[in-house]
Symmetry: C2
Subunit: 433 residues, 2 copies
Amino acid sequence: MEYWQKDIETMSRKDLEKLQLERLKKTIELAGNSPFYSKVFKENGITADSIQSLDDLQKIPFTTKDDLRNNYPYGMAAIPIKDCVRIHSSSGTTGNPTVVLHSAKDLDQWANQVARCMYMVGIRDTDVFQNTSGYGMFTGGLGFQYGAEKLGCLTVPAAAGNTKRQIKFITDFGTTCLHIIPSYATRLAEVMYEIGLDPRRDTKLHTVCIGAEPHSEEQRRRIEQLLGVKAYNCFGMSEMNGPGVAFECTEQNGLHIWEDNVIVEIVDPVTLQPVKEGEVGEMVLTTINREAMPLFRYRTRDLTCFLPGDCPCGRTHRRLARFKGRSDDMIILKGVNLFPIQIEKILMQFKELGSNYLITIETVGNNDEMLIEVELSDLFTDDYSVLQRLAKDVTRQLKDELLLTPHLKLVAKGSLPVQEGKAVRVKDLRKLC
Amino acid sequence: MEYWQKDIETMSRKDLEKLQLERLKKTIELAGNSPFYSKVFKENGITADSIQSLDDLQKIPFTTKDDLRNNYPYGMAAIPIKDCVRIHSSSGTTGNPTVVLHSAKDLDQWANQVARCMYMVGIRDTDVFQNTSGYGMFTGGLGFQYGAEKLGCLTVPAAAGNTKRQIKFITDFGTTCLHIIPSYATRLAEVMYEIGLDPRRDTKLHTVCIGAEPHSEEQRRRIEQLLGVKAYNCFGMSEMNGPGVAFECTEQNGLHIWEDNVIVEIVDPVTLQPVKEGEVGEMVLTTINREAMPLFRYRTRDLTCFLPGDCPCGRTHRRLARFKGRSDDMIILKGVNLFPIQIEKILMQFKELGSNYLITIETVGNNDEMLIEVELSDLFTDDYSVLQRLAKDVTRQLKDELLLTPHLKLVAKGSLPVQEGKAVRVKDLRKLC
């Protein structure tokens, strides 16, 4: 068993919690320099000395995305702007964007954390790593770039889009690892097969890091099978730097979250009280190893739970269950709460179905209805009776999972819009009145 | 007078040449490991010992873009691929792309060279630097990113396009410096004025690095005036890492080329013999501070000449004249050799003309003709007689510069295609038979 930083990754829980408390106190001291937190701390009587244990963290109020928006751009900075070396900004399609500031030390720490994740899934300095993320403001680009360079991979900064060119790079440069959005991974594989290239035979690919979109276990298996690789779920969010916040190990059973860098809470999104051990709730994170812009008890909106027990990989940092999606992604239909990923999970179990699907919710008369369109896979028949039986089987399974019955429409391969960036899977056309 | 690396930048010519010879010999030793150069050296009897002076460099044959293409992707590498951490690739629209490999040391050296350039034009760690280059494979993105971070600027990795968003970042983040393509700089300024923003009053911009396209002194002055900044010509090429190969100092009189990292020759593109002192020729570069992929006597196709005399800035690295364009860009029309930049130089002298223009060359009957379309500036009249007089004046000056008479067409502002990337200024529609 090999580790990037054995001492940190396999630290005893006791030592890890001691380290967390030390770093938390140091971060509180530092954050006193930020216009936003100096006020929050004053109002709540928070000082480094007032925090005697990790439980005392709960004395500090939550921080929300609105706090970031309201203090745009520099109101959360805990060090002088002159000492920051990079700013990342969300697209800010509605209202002010959110920004995250980084010092040189922050960037180095982030690169190290990404390198740790990549090393954990077996990526080494002998690998050729191609990054299909957008670069610039989107953190998946520079985040993985710096991490992979620190690890010593030969990096191919392909950036997003241009599938033919991605494939040319993969074959010409002998690419062994990819960072890729899951919906784009299946798209890439499909284009390879279309042009007569079998990635399992004609490329050196062995590992892909899939992130930036929630995806189901079934989609992972499909990507692994199509590309002939091991695929690992990587979780990131720009407020917590970007990629590398939590990452699967080779056990593929939950994502280790790096508790030397963040303190994790899982709370009920309504009561904001901690959930019981093993229950699903909203992940709340406190940065304890960041200087330019610390965040305390940041409400991520992401829903997950801790997995019980020790991981056979030997890492002591706790594991989170696969993310169900963001609380913002939840669809409430006829009083039922459901996530798009539940639908994907069912669809991906059928080899007769392709990887592209679209969920539309609309008001028909006085009812809200769900339509699921899914492409058939390449291999499949156009025998009507077979299709009818398939549709019936899929619908039954969807009903069991969702507790409501959607309209299912099987469509020909290639008839749904092709998704080259983050996939848009849900169209909500309901009348709001 | 301040320097990023005073000892190197102001080194005596004698010491600089001594350093060059040392580094050249070391690079020859290293390059013996590359499949391509080991063969070249063997065929020409080149060893580190056979090079006793800088003049001996001429024993080594030229390297051309075709050599890079023919040895795609890894045939030029002088170190094991495992020790490379990044690959940059040209778009390869025709034939194989060219690639450049970098070790971690190469990337650090490149970042240092870019930081040295930026520091030279007065950019400091207190500045907010926005990079409007494409990222990924295009070297203007990561090249400036790493350089500006090394310098300690707050970097805004805006990447290319989306003018409204660029402007939002400039105003919201207090951007003081830009890296920008010259044609896009005028476009950005025009959009600012259109939305009622005066960059001279409403932004903190003070310095822009303009590169990636040849441009005239007149276009620089226009950018300076529109944005209220100092604009510096920066020259780069992907084969020589990317940006930072040569850069103007605050004298704005020629581009210092960093002779601790490259040996410069200027040769007649036909005879390949050195040109006389001060004559224009093709720049030929030898890398002497790069390990993953050294290049000897690389024919850049870029046409320039050395400027005579010492630079008042105190730097001893020689200055190159503004690049006239690439030998590939040269237009031969009716037996006359001319460059698009000569036309731009004339157009930009007229405040009545805008910044967008298009040159079309086509065969009319048995003759090849040149049509120049140029947009009128915002301010200007639509009085026909005034326009007629203007057209006559511009045509006369063009004739004096080009030694032939083009057809000139003044068109309304906004009627030529908007250029957001590298501007396409010439359409050659001549019949080839």
